[in-house]
């Protein structure tokens, strides 16, 4: 099972779990329809597109409504704490949730009770809470952007908003930030750093740098990083090792951006529709 978990921006929507249906308009989980948006909806759509393209089972979505009031996020943490040990999960991606150090540590305790530990991917709030709790090395893949990499590189910061100015200013030296993130134990084995150049790192080493095609106008578009996380999730579920999955996802994301010819005002739905074509091209050339 590919389990994708995170909150959606609907106030007081109860927790839902089930196979994800997707269409150009949005996703549907257990009867709840959600329009395309940055965040979990974009991540889940991209993962579904990978699974459909490669003939895999649909991912399972675990969602709850949360507009920042915490209740939906807490429902997700509690569901995972109580149910993971009896679930057969191959790959689990944790995405937008309100960081809660105590509840996340309880989720990790539940994962330790599973017969077979899933491959763990974290982005957004789930990545923040993993790092703030000192648990980054428990995970397999993080997908930070440059600002979030600076947060991972600052051993004292609990949240990207607390990244110290001196480290925030080191963003032009991505290599040093990557070194700091690994040397302080705040990175998992595989790191996908999203930026003007995408860096794919494994155990402290940069193993791939993706620069082309360079689509500068993708940076302002909310949700492009979510597409990368979703594609990585689907590709790892398909059997690719995490580094290969990151390389393919990074190339496909740039190609989808190129096909959509974005401006800084482009919305993520305009890029999502090119993911299958872009992914097919990249898979064909990468073997």
């Amino acid at each position: 099972m590919l389990l994708l978990a995170g909150s959606v921006p609907v106030d007081k929507m109860n927790l839902q779990i089930g196979p994800i249906d997707f269409s150009p308009e949005g996703i549907e989980v257990d009867g709840s329809k959600l329009p395309i948006n940055r965040g979990n909806e974009a991540m889940m759509t991209a993962a579904c597109q990978v699974c459909e393209l490669l003939g895999l089972e649909r991912p399972i979505g675990l969602i709850a409504g949360d507009i920042g009031k915490r209740a939906g996020s807490e429902a997700i943490y509690h569901y995972l704490m109580e149910n993971l040990p009896s679930m057969d999960v191959d790959v689990m991606t944790l995405h937008y949730v309100m960081p809660d150090l105590k509840l996340n540590k309880k989720v990790l305790e539940s994962i330790k009770k599973m017969v077979r530990r899933p491959i763990l991917i974290a982005d957004a709030g789930s990545m923040y809470v993993a790092k703030a709790g000192g648990d980054a090395s428990f995970y397999d893949v993080f997908t930070p952007d440059i600002g979030e990499l600076a947060f991972l590189a600052d051993e004292k910061a609990d949240h990207p908003a607390f990244t110290r100015g001196a480290i925030f200013h080191m963003e032009d030296d991505v290599t040093e930030l990557i070194r700091r993130a690994y040397s302080t134990g705040n990175a998992p084995s595989t790191l996908f750093v999203k930026g003007r150049v995408d860096y794919i790192c494994h155990n402290g080493e940069i193993v791939e740098a993706i620069e082309e095609p360079a689509i500068e106008t993708m940076e302002p578009v909310g949700g492009t990083g979510d597409l990368i996380t979703g594609m990585i999730s689907g590709l790892i579920y398909a059997g690719r090792d995490p580094v290969d999955a990151c390389i393919i996802a990074g190339r496909a994301n740039r190609r989808a951006g190129q096909l959509s010819n974005p401006t800084p005002a482009t919305q993520i739905a305009e890029i999502i529709k090119f993911i299958p074509e872009a992914l097919s091209e990249v898979l064909e050339t990468s073997g």
């Binding site: 507009i67 957004a124 600002g147 940076e219 492009t224 990083g225």
Partner: protein, 182 residues
Amino acid sequence: MIKWFRKKKKKVDSKSNKANRGLLIFAHPTTVIAVEELLRDEGYEIRVVSPPPSYRTGCDLSVEIPLESEAAIVELLHSVGLSPMDVVPITSEGMEPLQFVRVKDFGRYLMVRAANMKMTVDKETKEIVNISGGGCPDVPFLATSMLGKRLSDAPDPGEVGFSLCAYSLNTAREEIIRLIGD
């Protein structure tokens, strides 16, 4: 073109003896935005910092105040419905949220990033055209609420958001307004 800016530093009594300072603890980081504005307007020397470890969830802010003003400050906050959850003595130096921003000019569009949050506006219409980054659940909600609106008409992330990401988004928004107006 990328430029670095240091936001104008507000008057802060950072050298005060921490034994004479206390911390106001709140349920949501964005409550701190309103509290910070109110207390600075009233002339109090305060700092916005991370709370002590026992209060940290991973997404929180607190307000450092002079302890001799505690009673007056708490009464003031209570009178406007911004009562803190708790007032505690300082046991360790809190970290201040990042106030640096990065600006990128795309010609017609301007993008400002504060910490992990980016806001992009159309310089001609002042319309918010994209919000990117962040990881707390109110970010997609804020994006839905603010996109397509002029800066002057869009809801204030400090008022409708709840998280540190909303706090950073507000920092980006303030910088955009400072640069091009609303």
